[in-house]
Symmetry: C2
Subunit: 340 residues, 2 copies
C-alpha cells in the first residue's frame, strides 16, 4: 500500500514522489529592511503602508507583491498556478482574501497562526505528491501595526513592551512549489497538534509556542528515526530568545540536544540590540521571508544539505484572551534538502 | 501521468482512488432543535451555552461533542484519526483551537468562512486519495450569538434584522472520512476562487455569496462535462431565499438552469415563516449539520444517487467591513455519490 510507504509514525509523511520549491518572493517593511537580512529581500517598502490607507490593506498589498515576485522569478502567470494555500494572522484572514483576489486562483484559506507556512507547505506537498496539481503556491504575511491592533494595543497607545515580547514582522513570503526538479526539495513533513502549557501572557509568545516546537521535534525525530545532527540546522519560526531557551531546555529533559543546530527566524531577521525588538521577530511573515531570503539560498548552493523548518503558532484571539483562555501553541515541520 | 487522470479542467479533481464518508456527528442549539430537521440531529442542547460560560466556549464544546459522536458511531478512538481539518467563523479559529485540543490529533486549521466544510472535505479527500492517511476528520461549527457579536452587533443590542439577513446556525458537524468502502463516496471536487461583486451589506450574505456559487457551478459542470440533471440535487450551503434567487438568475444568464434541482441547507434547517429567521440559516455549522442530518441518509439509502454539495462563504471581518471593504465570496463544491 502507498500509505505504508509514505506515512512515518504518528504524524509524519515522507512523500513517495518528491516536491520542489521553484521560486519565492519576499516583501518587507522599513524596519526589516534596516535589519541584518536587508540585502536578501526582494522588496523593501520605505513606509509600512505600501501605498494603502490602512494597515490591513498594506498587508494585502504585500501578499499581492510577493506573489507577483515569485511568479515573475519562475516566469509563470497566475493561470499556471492550480491552487493557492494562504493565510495571515488577522481575523477571518482578510489580508489574504483581499490580497489574492485579483489573481483568480482557487484558494485554500488556512489559519495556523505563525505556523501557517508549515501548514501550507505540508498541504501543498500532499497536493503535488498526490498528483492533484503540477504547480501551486503557498503565501503568508503579517504586519506589525495590524497585529498589535488585533492582538494587543493599537500602536498609538504606546504600550510598554516587556523583554519577552516579540516584534511582529511586516512582511510576506510567497512560494511556488512544483513537481519539476529544482535545487531544493521537500522530503518530509510532520504536523503538530495543539499544545496547552497554561501560558496566559500575550506578550510572551515564545513561551506559549516552545512546547509545541518541542513536541514537534521529538515526534519528527522519532517518526523519521533521526537525531538532531542529521540536520545542518533545525530552524524554528519565531520563538525568539525567550522561547529558544525554553525549547532547548524542554528537549534536553527529553534527552534531545538541539543546542548545536538550532536557529530561529525571529532571531535572524532583527538585530534586537540595535533595533529594540526585544526577544526577536515573529508573525506569519517572519518565517516566510527569512526562510526564503536566508535559508533557501544556502540550501540551493549546497552549503546546507538538509534543514528542518518549523514555524510555530500561538493560538489566541483578542476575544479568547479577554475571556481568560490560555495561549496555546501549534507547530508544523518541513524537511528541506539540497538537490545535486 | 497521475495528474492527467485526476485533474479535470481548471479547478476540479476526480480522485483516481475513491474516498468515503464513514460517520458523522451533529450537535445543534435550541432553535435548530425546534426546526424541521429536529429529529435528524444527534444532539440538541436546550440552551445555547452548552454548559459553558461564553458563546465561544459553547461553540468549542459543540465541536468537541460532534467529534465524540462521529468517533463513537464509527467505533473509533481519537488516536485512529491521523489528521483533523477544521475551522469556524471566529477570528483566529478559536472555537476550533479550544474545542479540538483535548483530542491531540494533528490539526490543519482552515478558514473559508461558511465554505469551510467544502474546503476541508476537498483537502481531506486529497490527503486520503493521495495515500497520506487512512482516516481523517473534517469539522466545522458556528454559533448564532458568537457570530452576531463578531460580525454585526451583540445580541443584547437588539438590532433590527432586514429580510435579507440570514440566521447563523448554532451547530457543529464532524465527519470521519476514510479509504475503506462505505455507502457514500466523494467522487470529485471543485475549488473556488474569491469573487467580488461589490456587495457592501453585511446583512445580505446571500447576495455576496451567490456569484461565487454561480462561478463554482459553471466551472464544475464544465470541468466534468455534466449538466444540472446529472445531479439529484445541487445543494448550496447558506444562500437563503435572497441568494437562491440571485444564483438561479445568474446561472440562467450563463445558459444553465438549476431551478429544478437546487436546494439550500439554509432554507432546509429552519421554518423561516414560523421561526422568524428571515432569508434562512447560515454559518459553517449550517451546511455541516444539514448535509449530515438530511442529505447523507438519502445518499446512503440510494434515494439520491449523486449530489453536488457547495458550501459558500462570505469573506469579511469586522475590521474589513468597518474599513469599507466589500464582502467578497468563495465556494467549494464536493460530489457525493451513493455506493451500491
Amino acid at each position: 500500500m502507498l500509505e505504508q510507504l509514505q506515512q512515518k509514525g504518528k504524524a509524519s509523511i515522507e512523500p513517495a514522489r518528491p516536491v520542489y520549491i521553484k521560486s519565492t518572493g519576499t516583501v518587507v517593511g522599513k524596519m526589516e529592511g534596516e535589519g541584518p537580512l536587508a540585502s536578501h529581500f526582494d522588496m523593501i517598502c520605505d513606509t509600512d503602508k505600501f501605498g494603502e490607507e490602512t494597515w490591513e490593506a498594506a498587508e494585502s498589498r504585500m501578499q499581492k507583491e510577493a506573489v507577483a515576485l515569485a511568479l515573475g522569478k519562475a516566469n509563470l502567470q497566475a493561470s499556471d498556478i492550480r491552487y493557492i494555500f494562504a493565510g495571515d494572522l488577522l481575523g477571518q484572514n482578510i489580508a489574504t482574501c483581499f490580497g489574492l483576489m485579483d489573481y483568480e486562483i482557487p484558494l485554500f484559506g488556512l489559519y495556523g497562526a505563525c505556523s501557517t507556512l508549515g501548514e501550507g507547505m505540508s498541504l501543498a506537498a500532499m497536493c503535488l505528491a498526490g498528483g492533484f496539481a503540477e504547480q501551486v503556491m503557498v503565501v503568508t504575511s503579517s504586519h506589525f501595526a495590524g497585529a498589535e491592533k488585533n492582538f494587543r494595543f493599537p500602536v498609538e497607545y504606546a504600550n510598554q513592551r516587556p523583554l519577552s515580547a516579540t516584534w511582529t514582522v511586516t512582511g510576506s513570503g510567497a512560494y511556488v512549489l512544483c513537481n519539476e526538479k529544482t535545487q531544493v526539495k521537500i522530503t518530509g513533513f510532520t504536523n503538530g497538534k495543539i499544545m496547552d502549557y497554561g501560558i496566559r501572557d500575550a506578550q510572551n509568545m515564545g513561551a506559549a509556542m516552545a512546547p509545541a516546537a518541542m513536541d514537534l521535534i521529538k515526534t519528527h525525530l522519532k517518526d523519521f528515526g533521526r537525531k538532531p545532527d542529521d540536520y545542518d540546522k533545525i530552524v524554528t519560526g519565531d520563538l525568539g530568545t525567550v522561547g529558544q531557551e525554553i525549547l532547548i531546555k524542554l528537549l534536553k529533559d527529553e534527552g534531545i540536544d538541539i543546542s548545536g543546530v538550532h536557529e530561529d527566524c525571529g532571531m535572524k531577521i532583527f538585530d534586537s540590540e540595535e533595533q529594540g525588538t526585544q526577544a526577536g521577530g515573529s508573525g506569519c511573515g517572519c518565517s516566510a521571508v527569512t526562510l526564503a531570503a536566508w535559508y533557501l539560498p544556502k540550501l540551493m548552493s549546497g552549503e546546507y544539505r538538509r534543514i528542518l523548518f518549523i514555524p510555530t503558532g500561538a493560538l489566541m484571539s483578542q476575544v479568547s484572551f479577554n475571556e481568560g483562555q490560555n495561549v496555546t501553541g501549534i507547530a508544523h515541520g518541513v524537511v528541506l534538502e539540497h538537490v545535486d
